[in-house]
């Protein structure tokens, strides 16, 4: 069967500016593979990002994009989704963007359960600002901003945070396995509700600890080990395995998914009339509206 959109249809003319070997290439490829597999119309697809190396991603695709300010991709995406719920909205960004400066929006977007897919390219370091500690940097990691003792704070665990905040699709992927990542992204897009895919995406320039090899030696597939992703308790148990409990084994795959929770769009009263972007402007019967002021 001939597909309407080729892989290349989704590519823009702009070439990625990432360092050779950057994990973000794999995330771009996984996303492109997923939207190609779903044959999404590029003009009905909106990709919103913040600031950071990974947030340049929308420029490399031929869809609509909004390259927002640092940490604010999620609220921009939420506003767009509420204005036109028929758009497929995907948010991309880094760990600093989403788990640091934007962590407040991250929690609130998840508790609202917007039908939005969020890909975080998590490299556990600030790349674009040349190598400072990030909210997911491991304890003890020496960086430009933590040169003496290394990081002395605990890292944010996005998976536990997502589970606790009400995300209804929570997964972790790894740039060393594009095929599985593409599958997780595809399922996340199809999921009716908020999908977080935390993508471990090594920074080859500034993070010499959490490298491709670091992950390859430690990752395992949750689904292959029989994890039940409909069980929230089991999901929490798996979530805290790394980095809280130990750092020898790192679970990948789908931690949790439920379709039983209505999305924000399902419940918002103003959307019952249809997408706001297509509603008539103005007030038909102003006298009725003015009566309460008389």
């Amino acid at each position: 069967m001939k597909l309407e959109f080729e892989m290349d249809t989704y590519k823009s003319e702009i070439k990625p500016t990432w360092c050779p070997g950057c994990g973000d290439f794999a995330v771009l490829r996984a996303l492109q593979t997923a939207i190609h597999a779903l044959q999404l119309e590029p003009w009905n697809l909106l990709i919103v990002s913040g600031i950071g190396c990974s947030s340049n991603l929308p420029h490399f695709l031929s869809t609509y994009g909004f390259h927002a300010i640092h940490g604010r991709a999620l609220p921009v995406a939420e506003g767009a989704k509420l204005a036109n719920p028929e758009l497929e909205v995907i948010v991309t960004g880094g760990d600093g963007d989403g788990y640091g400066i934007g962590v407040g929006h991250f929690i609130h977007a998840m508790r609202r359960n917007f039908d939005i897919t969020y890909l975080v390219m998590n490299n556990q370091i600030y790349g674009l600002t040349t190598g400072q500690a990030s909210p997911t940097s491991e304890k003890g990691m020496k960086t430009k901003s933590t040169p003496i003792e290394g990081v002395i704070e605990n890292p944010v665990d996005p998976i536990s945070l997502a589970l606790a905040s009400g995300a209804t699709y929570v997964a972790r992927a790894f740039s060393g396995d594009v095929k599985t990542m593409a599958e997780l992204v595809k399922n996340g897009i199809q999921h009716h509700g908020f999908a977080l895919i935390d993508c471990m995406s090594p920074c080859v320039t500034y993070n010499k600890i959490n490298t491709y090899d670091f992950f390859r030696e430690r990752v395992y597939d949750l689904q292959k080990e029989g994890h039940d992703s409909s069980d929230m308790k089991a999901a929490f148990a798996k979530a805290i395995e790394w980095p809280f409990v130990q750092r020898d084994r790192i679970p990948l795959g789908l931690f949790y998914r439920t379709e039983d929770v209505p999305t924000y769009e399902d419940l918002e009263p103003a959307l019952k009339k249809g997408p706001p972007v297509r509603q008539p402007l103005g007030v038909e019967n102003p006298d009725e509206l003015l009566r309460e002021f008389l």
Binding site: L46, R72, A80, G282
Partner: protein, 583 residues
């Protein structure tokens, strides 16, 4: 001179029902056919403290909440202490004989003391004496000879058809108060001929909501903050019926960013806040300027700095609005003077935002935003102009979102439009949205690209200057003094001008600015040419507008009267400064 207005003030503790009583009275005044104006002085507390509201009703157009009241209701001793000396000669004070005492030494002449056992009378109707304030209200209605049917209709508005027994109880309570006055000398006999033709009564914030609805707003994101919260409240209860998504968000950063997202997706979108919240919005509003995203931001000022006086008025955030965001980006700042203008400018702001694809700021303040005023019937038949869209002209093939044009405005395309895909970028970019910032900045041809793109955006100011309302000169041409004013100062300033003319024969006019930015320098210079002496009057310490005026025109106001004590200008404040200037 025959008296043509009434002024009523009620004071008590928060939780005593001061504001609901005052609101009811304002409605009764408007329904009696009086032009009506209210000012509420309240505090950042839910119970206790001292709150008071003043309502002024007038046979002719009313321009301020007035000064000294004809009648004061003192629901506690503090209210008595604070307000008893303000009551005019021949006026009256209504108070609870149970625990409140006037001090005759502090009163003006012939002030009637109407002590009523308010609590005890209310207890005859319900044991918790909740309707103490209603008994007092009934007394006031009698003192002013207001038709009792307005009492009934006001109570029905509050409790509706669902609780008829509460409506009846309150009517009974009001009658007890009226009867008590009947037994203590009766009404004030002001002789105001009420027409009983109801007038529309609303706050500036409500007028902004109505203007936004008329213009087709479809999205409001807001975080609660006094004195802007009533915009969120009104829209939350009315918006969905008109297809407006109303979102209370986690903070003002989200409010502005969601508004940007909604504007980008193609709906008319707005947010509203006060100074502190606007501070959190500045990075994101600059983002809208850079990405050329239309939106309307309402800034209802209160006293700063920092948390300041949350329930008090000021005009101290003008510099904030003028300077919001890093770098230069085109914006317009409109400053409504009254509710009618709140309505008109809100509607116009959405057109300007979409025509010029940039944020428009509507700057108001607590005095205008929360005060009730009667207005003429609002005309919802406002023009709706959505600006240049891609499908109007070019084809998808040669579409570039940020095409350089003479006007600075490029054709806009909305997500969902096939073939017009593009990325809106907060980094500096080229016509096709490709970033200059990453690998091109500093290369000679891209230095030029940046210069051209920046100039393109800023050229929008020329169009905005043409399309925004120009400054207006109000009052006699050959005046001895010209006031320089903006925003809510309009009412008290006009009343002061009328008063000094009537009482002292002093001729004063006022130059006022419905648009603050882009500044209309040429017209301003023309209008100032005939001015003999100028007095700038604004509600802040440093003269934020006065300095802007000087920067834009070179005109240094001869005198400056800045007020930043939290209270609104009264006409008397301004009249005193006028007389000092012309002495």
């Amino acid at each position: 001179m025959a008296k043509n207005d009434l002024v009523f003030r009620i004071g008590g503790a928060a939780g005593d029902g001061v504001s609901s009583t005052a609101e009811s009275f304002a409605k009764m005044s408007a329904r009696s056919g009086l032009h009506t104006w209210t000012y509420s002085s309240y505090q950042s507390v839910i119970r206790g403290g001292h709150v008071w509201t003043q309502i002024r009703g007038s046979l002719g157009p009313v321009l301020s909440h007035g000064v000294d009241p004809d009648v004061v209701v003192a629901l506690n001793q503090q209210s008595m202490d604070v307000h008893q000396g303000d009551v005019v000669e021949g006026g009256a004070i209504v108070y609870d004989t149970d625990g409140t005492k006037p001090d005759p030494a502090k009163l003006r002449r012939n002030v009637r003391l109407i002590g009523i056992p308010l609590r005890k009378k209310a207890q005859t109707l319900s044991p918790n004496a909740l309707m103490r304030n209603t008994v007092a209200l009934g007394a006031v209605v009698k003192l002013f000879d207001i038709d009792f049917r307005h009492v009934e209709s006001a109570f029905k508005d509050i409790w509706g058809d669902k609780k008829p027994e509460i409506v009846q109880q309150n009517i009974a309570a009001a009658k007890l108060g009226a009867e008590a006055v009947g037994q203590m000398g009766g009404s004030l006999n002001l002789g105001l001929p009420y027409s009983n033709e109801a007038k529309y009564l609303m706050t500036g914030n409500e007028a902004i909501c109505l203007g936004a609805l008329a213009a087709g707003v479809k999205f409001l994101a807001q975080y609660p903050m006094t004195p802007a919260s009533s915009i969120l409240h009104w829209m939350a209860s009315h918006g969905p019926k008109y297809g407006v998504v109303v979102k209370q968000v986690e903070d003002e950063l989200a409010a502005m960013n969601m508004t940007v997202g909604a504007g980008f997706a193609g709906v008319r979108a707005m947010t509203a806040t006060s100074g502190g919240g606007f501070c959190l919005m500045v990075e994101a509003i600059g983002q809208a300027g850079m990405t050329e995203t239309p939106l309307v931001a309402v800034l209802v000022q209160r006293s700063g700095p920092s948390t300041g006086l949350p329930t008090k008025t000021e005009q101290g955030d003008l510099n904030l609005a003028l300077g919001a965001g890093q770098g230069d980006w085109p914006r317009a700042i409109l400053a409504p003077r009254n509710p009618e203008e709140c309505f008109r400018q809100a509607a116009q702001a959405f057109n300007l935002a979409e025509i010029y694809q940039t944020p428009i700021i509507l700057i108001s303040d607590l005095y205008l935003g929360e005060g009730y005023r009667t207005v003429e019937k609002l005309d919802f038949n406002v023009p709706i102009v959505r600006g240049m869209m891609a499908a109007d002209g070019g084809t998808a093939k040669d579409f570039m979102r940020y095409r350089i044009t003479e006007s600075g405005v490029s054709p806009r395309a909305l997500p969902g439009m096939k073939g017009f895909q593009h990325v809106a970028a907060t980094d500096e970019h080229m016509e096709n949205s490709e970033l200059i910032s990453d690998v091109l900045a500093g290369l000679p041809e891209h230095v030029e690209e940046r210069r051209k793109m920046h100039a393109k955006r800023m050229r929008k100011l020329d169009g905005l200057r043409k399309d925004t309302p120009p400054p207006e000169l109000w009052g006699p041409k050959n005046a001895d003094l010209t006031l320089l004013i903006w925003g809510s100062t309009w009412g008290p300033a006009h009343e002061a001008i009328i008063q000094v003319d009537e009482t002292e024969g002093v001729k004063v006019n006022s130059l006022e600015f419905p648009t603050i930015f882009p500044f209309h320098a040429e017209q301003t210079e023309q209008l100032l040419r005939g001015a003999k002496q100028t007095l700038a009057v604004e509600g802040n310490y440093t003269g934020q507008f006065t300095r802007l005026l000087r920067a834009e025109t070179g005109h240094k106001a001869d005198r400056f009267y800045g007020k930043s004590d939290g209270e609104p200008f009264t006409w008397r404040d301004i009249a005193d400064h006028i007389l000092e200037a012309v002495a």
